[in-house]
Symmetry: C2
Subunit: 314 residues, 2 copies
């Protein structure tokens, strides 16, 4: 038997003949002519090199070998049916994987979406990568993930990005800092104080520094720290003051205070970024769709900027 000359169509026709017990009937059911079916069976028998169906007293009789082949076909088609089911789930976004890489800061907001999504789609794997901006950028360059979360999206040559959340930056000081209760401050008022900053390249820092530069201001003292957590705690304990995303601040924590700086409005947005040169997994598409529909429900409504319909997910 040469499996290479078998085709699924041939087997389909054969199965129908076995089931109906008639070549003409099969032809009618499959919208073929009777000679076509006869010929297919003949060819199948030649491929198998063994009679499968024989005429016996004007009736078709399936031989042993034919019956065996029939059962084999049933199993084979069963496997393909299973695969089709799997594919359907995969394409429906019910299965599969959606790898997301995000910059550190995003870990304060994204889980609010990921949790509900994961509950709604339990078969979707959701591996997360969290790193600083340069690490995530490197992953982005290599196209290692399905979705990237940035404030300040990278060059959009091979990517598209869409905002989903406003990301206001605020200045914080220890709760007992001398500026804490001043009604209206200017950015210049903060310059004398020591600033606790993330590494260069972090979106927050970039935004802040470009603001300073454009205004001709210079920090008198700054300290670099590796995480927003560390900065917040350091501010609370009086090491200095900082500019941080509003979203990273725990609510109801009184160990620091947000300043009222009237001449400055620093803000960026959170973006979902996908590469345009890579096929978007169905799971990723499904996640973005989910986000699009449920941003308001799971994130603070006041900051939501739902522009996800701008994404063209092929």
């Amino acid at each position: 038997m040469n499996i290479r000359q078998l085709s699924f169509r041939l087997l389909e026709v054969f199965m129908s003949v076995v089931k109906t017990g008639s070549i003409s009937e099969t032809a009618r059911q499959l919208h073929l002519t009777q000679p076509t079916v006869s010929l297919q069976i003949k060819r199948l028998q030649e491929a198998v090199n063994e009679p499968l169906i024989i005429m016996q007293q004007q009736k078709l009789q399936v031989t042993e070998a034919g019956l065996h082949l029939f059962r084999t076909c049933e199993q084979v088609f069963g496997h393909f049916d299973d695969y089709q089911d799997y594919l359907a789930e995969l394409k429906g976004g019910e299965r599969g994987r959606c790898k997301i890489a995000m910059v550190n800061t995003a870990q304060y907001i994204l889980p609010k979406l990921l949790g509900p999504y994961s509950n709604a789609h339990p078969h979707v794997e959701l591996p997360l990568e969290i790193g600083n901006r340069s690490a995530v950028l490197a992953r982005f360059e290599r196209g290692e993930d399905d979705i990237y979360v940035f404030s300040h999206p990278p060059s959009l040559e091979h990517a598209q990005a869409a905002r989903f959340l406003h990301n206001p930056l605020v200045f914080i000081v220890p709760f007992d800092h001398s500026l804490a209760d001043v009604k209206a401050l200017t950015l210049a008022d903060l310059m004398p104080y020591r600033f606790l900053l993330r590494e260069p390249g972090s979106a927050t820092r970039m935004l802040f520094e470009s603001e300073l530069q454009s205004r001709g201001l210079v920090l008198s003292d700054s300290v670099q720290m590796a995480s927003n957590e560390a900065i917040r705690v350091a501010v609370s304990s009086g090491m200095g003051i900082a500019v941080l995303s509003h979203h990273v601040l725990p609510k109801g924590d009184n160990s620091f205070k947000v300043l009222n700086v009237t001449d400055t409005c620093l803000a960026s947005h959170w973006y979902f970024v996908v590469r345009t040169d890579r096929h978007i997994s169905h799971a990723a598409r499904s996640f973005i769709k989910f986000a699009q529909l449920n941003l308001e429900q799971y994130l603070d409504k006041q900051w939501v900027r739902n522009e996800l319909n701008g994404l063209n997910l092929h």
Copy 2:
């Protein structure tokens, strides 16, 4: 996914690509050119309508859907391998069925071959049909069996026959019959006695009657009985005399005696008969081969007439 545009060849190539992790390597192994393999994969992906293999950092990466398909293929090819094994056994005569129809008398000799054959080929089904000549002839006409056993084969229009055993007919009388110990008898000497005969049409009876006719002899009295067994027992108990196949006589039974009729040599042969207009099953072929090689071993050497090589089993 449209299964109709899938071919086994396509899946074979796909599996090879997954295994080697390289399109070029697959091309080398399958003696194809690299573009051919590329194209096959592309076509498969179009059929499935889902990426199966993607380029990632200059390396081929199998997607989820691809891996799933690969596993599906493994199973499918496994089933066909099983079927191939089955076919091989079938074609080797190790499996399948060999239906044999024989006339009554043959049941005294054929089991001596069937037993050893069945032991040597335990997976071959051997359904037997035993009937009188006309019943077996009817089966033969309809082509219901693979092998027929006749003495006196039917018209050979759609059949071929080959002798395998001499079938001498002998005259028996009760052990205390007046003829029992006569040294030399003629056929005419037997005419006055009552003959116990099988039904008209039975080969034995036909042979006997044609001999009588050609010699101008007429039976004075005859009784018809349905089986050789019945005749033998009836002879033993004095109901008359009979002409029977030597093979149906149990050895060491002293309740009857074989006459020494010097002017008559009635004999036929046992034939295996197969139809020429029907495919001969591998099992049937295998049985005849077995008989051909082992006749002398399992049947009384003295009567064997091995002409089975005369059968042309296509």
